[in-house]
Symmetry: C2
Subunit: 182 residues, 2 copies
Amino acid sequence: MARTPAPGSRETILTAAAGLFYEHGVRAVGMAQVVEAAGCGKNLLYRHFPSKAELAAAYLALVRRERERSADEALRWATGPRDRLIALVGEIADLVRRPGYRGCAFRNYLTEFRGDDDTPARAAKAYLEDTRAEVDRLVGELGGDELLADRIWLIVNGLYAGPPSQADVAVDWVKELVSPER
Amino acid sequence: MARTPAPGSRETILTAAAGLFYEHGVRAVGMAQVVEAAGCGKNLLYRHFPSKAELAAAYLALVRRERERSADEALRWATGPRDRLIALVGEIADLVRRPGYRGCAFRNYLTEFRGDDDTPARAAKAYLEDTRAEVDRLVGELGGDELLADRIWLIVNGLYAGPPSQADVAVDWVKELVSPER
DNA sequence: ATAGACTCGGACCGATCGGTCCGTTAAGCC
DNA sequence: GGCTTAACGGACCGATCGGTCCGAGTCTAT
């Protein structure tokens, strides 16, 4: 079974905060709620995370780790840029289909704090840019032009926003786009 | 020249609130800021809008009126479902390209208040459903299948989310999708 | 001039925000 | 058992939240 992290540990607090932040939004969740969900004292929370902004940044970093782990696993068995692109979009589709899906954590944060340029906002932007760059790289390996990369990125953004019922449409479309024309 | 609305009027207050809500987000803007921007007293604000939720609902209703006016104008000269679909997406592209674009007001609200089911949230959902239904209707008139409607909706969602530089890509793609195959 | 209606600005309310601090309690460790 | 360490829970802080209320001032109509 999975190792149970010690109560009051940094990991426990961060997990509790991440769940609340993702479900309700960072702005909507107060530090008191985080403390209550984590089952620890405010004291300990502020020892691990000196401010709400740093807790939010750690939340986004945690989500990024999870996303990258999931993406790495999805891309493990994909060989070549074509399969890797399909796997990349398919992995996002799996995320969107998951019950309790509430949108992309990074896009959500940038919507909640639009205009801000604090640490978590920069982390969110960095993730989006890196993902976009990954799409560009794979399309380049595949020999595709910038238009193809733009179109796939358009689908990815639409996939993140849209209802889960659109996930299959997005994946199938990308498969079609990256398949050699008959 | 444009008629200047009376200071302290409902229209003046709503316009000021709408600008702040759209730029910074509804949660991030306090009623005191609205009052300050509107140049009126709190008294008058709460006479016209009995609560912040009602002000937010009026803000979304205002945006909806503007969006529908702009869409009607864009669709005025389009004849037939093909041109109307292209015009519909092109009008959204114009919005996205506008300086100061901060995303779709309705999607932003639903992100900020995810999980809530108050009056403004229902208004936002209704707008999105109506727009999606409009796409379905036009695709149906054109003789397209559900897949085409899903794909166009995917592009629309991606267009709203993506950087303005993607606007042309989205419009050109929709043109290609609805054009009769050679 | 005077009365009335209306507005602004701000004081004010209870609640909650992020964040600090401390008394109590409990868990090690010798 | 006694000592140390540390976490919990909550009181507490100033600021801000949405929302109410009132005094002072303005304008108009008579």
